[in-house]
């Protein structure tokens, strides 16, 4: 279990269960501040032949930089040959429905669970 956190957010990488969990409010400015989180996501993607999951169901807010990070991740994930990718979201968080659907449009194989 690895963690990146401050008073507003917490990002956890659990390599055993092949999961990245993002909680709170992610309002980092620019790609540079997102670098450690991008590192987590790339580590997750590198787990070949595993079903991986990104859990955003408790992520209240993510700014455009974060959306850009996830969009780029989806594009890189197109190269992935095996293993399912799941993104978990929440219906009660308004920004997720539209943005997560856009991710699925970038990666049609993405399993999107919004509940």
């Amino acid at each position: 279990m690895k963690k990146i956190e401050d008073e507003n957010y917490c990002v956890t990488l659990d390599e055993d269960s092949a999961k990245v969990i993002m909680d709170g409010v992610l309002r980092l400015s620019g790609a540079a501040e997102f670098t450690p989180i991008v590192g987590f996501l790339n580590d997750l993607l590198a787990l070949e032949e595993k079903d991986i999951e990104i859990d955003l169901s408790k992520l209240e807010f993510m700014n455009s930089s974060g959306i850009a990070v996830l969009s780029k991740l989806m594009i890189s994930a197109r190269q992935r040959k095996s293993g399912k990718i799941t993104i978990r979201g929440s219906l009660s968080i308004p920004w997720q429905t539209k943005s997560l659907k856009n991710l699925q449009r970038l990666l049609p194989a993405l399993e999107l669970i919004i509940e």
Binding site: G30, A31, S65, I67, A68, I75, K98, N102, L106
Partner: protein
């Protein structure tokens, strides 16, 4: 800051040490003075002792005189009994009288000098014996003067015996006087020596204990001084740190101020950009079949709202978009969108192709800028035929709200009509078009999320339902009045809270002829 306080405290300690030393000297002075008084007393004692010895010597001498007088008189009387010479007899007689006076004189002096009760008693006891001896001696002297034979030799023996008793008594007195004086002297000397020794030890003790106490106090004070120095040093260091921090904070404040100035300049520039590129009233009036009202209120911080209305040939085009985030970068991206839209529309009538081209332009530029900005962007074309308007809509943006001429509200999702612009290199696979017919009196409302997500003091959102309700309540009004009522409702809702995002609104109403 220097350390003057430390030296002031140091000199305070020095002052205290000096005071203690003065106190010590005073104590020693008092001890010395007491010793001097003791010594003086001893001296006086010695003088008195000397006087006692003198008195004793005098008494002793007087007693000797008395003894001698008795013994001499005995001898004189004896001589008188043995001489026939009358002159000599006379002389001896006078001499014997003198001896008696000597004795009486000495005795008187002795009594005058003061005697103990025992001695006075002894003197009284001697009187009888003396009287007895005197009587015998007087009768012997009388017989001798009358040249008679000493009748009884035993008389002399008797007198001698009586005198001897007196002499012995006097000798006793002398010895007693001697012993007493010697005892007194010895006692006195012992006392003096003892006092001296005691005084010496007392002084030594006072001196040593004073030194111990004083050295303890001084050491304690010095260690206190050291602690004080340490505390002052720490205080000084923390002061220096505090000063440094204040300086840093001041610098930060100065930086913040200059940052603020920079941001104010940015804000002004951003607002200017937004104002300059907004379509003018005359541009709106060119479209005869439409009643158009548009509104934009920039946020306190520069937002990235975009809207544009333009005409090419017989078609009108409406663009609306919202660049993510705030600040000058968002404003610049918005400016690029505006320019790119206009330039591509001049060459291409297919709005989905225009959107794809705008995306390519923007994506490349955004990558080059090294920013993560992207935008929601919608583009509509409008054509009027026989009083009926046809809207072709393309792009992913907020929902489209249509109010029909009977007050019915229709809402169209746009998620499947496009993709965020500038996020990925190509959106061609994601763009679709939606056709909407506008009958006379029908209106279309385009807006940015500054309206739907306007927040009040309790962080509640204005929401799409409120927007629809306002539109429904005012559907019969002109585009301008519908716009005004929406803006009023949003402004009322926000209340005293500052505007966090730009508010953009375009109302297009098909004229009824």
């Amino acid at each position: 800051m220097s350390k003057p306080e430390t030296t002031i405290k140091r000199s305070n300690i020095r002052q205290q040490i000096v005071i203690i030393l003065i106190g010590f000297v005073l104590v020693m002075g008092i001890v010395g003075f007491s010793a001097k008084i003791g010594i003086n007393t001893m001296q006086e004692n010695k003088e008195r002792l000397k006087e006692i010895v003198n008195t004793n010597n005098q008494k002793f001498n007087l007693l000797t005189i008395m003894s001698d007088a008795i013994r001499d008189r005995m001898l004189i009387v004896y001589d008188m009994t043995n001489t026939q010479d009358t002159f000599e007899l006379d002389d001896l007689y006078l001499l014997s009288g003198k001896k008696v006076r000597d004795f009486i004189n000495a005795r008187e002096q002795l009594v005058a000098m003061g005697l103990t009760d025992k001695q006075l008693k002894q003197l009284d006891e001697q009187k009888d014996k003396l009287k007895q001896a005197q009587t015998i001696l007087n009768s012997i002297i009388e017989q001798a003067i009358n040249e008679q034979e000493i009748s009884n030799i035993s008389q002399i023996t008797q007198a001698r015996s009586a005198n001897n008793t007196v002499l012995k008594s006097l000798l006793d007195m002398q010895n007693f006087q001697n012993i007493k004086a010697q005892e007194q002297l010895k006692l006195s000397e012992d006392l003096a020596r003892k006092t001296g020794i005691q005084l010496f030890w007392l002084t030594l003790f006072a001196f040593i204990s004073s030194i111990i106490v004083v050295s303890f106090i001084i050491r304690h004070m010095l260690s206190q001084g050291k602690k004080l120095d340490q505390a002052l040093l720490e205080l000084h260091q923390s002061n220096v740190m505090l000063e440094r921090r204040v300086e840093e904070r001041t610098n930060e404040l100065m930086l913040t101020r200059s940052e603020n100035m920079r941001m104010t300049a940015e804000l002004d520039a951003g607002r200017k950009i937004q104002e300059i590129i907004l379509p003018t009233g005359s541009e709106l009036e060119q479209i005869k079949s439409l009643d158009i009202a548009a509104f934009m209120q920039p946020a306190d911080e520069i937002g990235g709202d975009y809207y544009d209305i333009l005409t090419y040939g017989d078609r009108a085009y409406f663009g609306i978009g919202d660049v993510t985030g705030h600040g000058l970068e968002s404003g610049i991206v918005m400016l690029m969108v505006q320019a790119s839209m206009r330039s591509h529309l001049q060459q291409e009538g297919d709005i989905s192709k225009v959107l794809q081209m705008v995306n390519e332009t923007l994506y490349n530029n955004i990558q080059r800028m090294g920013t993560d900005k992207n935008l929601s962007l919608a583009l509509c074309s409008y054509q009027n035929s026989n009083g009926i308007g046809e809207i072709i809509y393309c792009g992913q943006h907020e929902t489209i709200i249509i109010v029909r001429n009977d007050g019915d509200i229709e809402e169209f999702e746009t998620d499947d009509l496009g993709f965020p612009v500038g996020l990925v290199d190509s959106i061609s696979e994601f763009t679709n078009i939606l056709r909407i017919e506008l009958k006379p009196g029908d209106a279309m409302v385009l807006y940015t999320d500054g309206i739907s997500e306007a927040a009040n003091e309790n962080n509640e959102l204005f929401g799409i339902d409120s927007l629809k309700k306002i539109i429904k309540n005012n559907y019969q009004l002109s585009a301008e009045n519908i716009k005004t009522s929406i803006v009023q409702a949003v402004t009322d809702f926000i209340g005293s809270k500052s505007l966090y995002d730009d508010i953009s609104l375009v109302v297009i109403k098909q004229k009824s002829e």
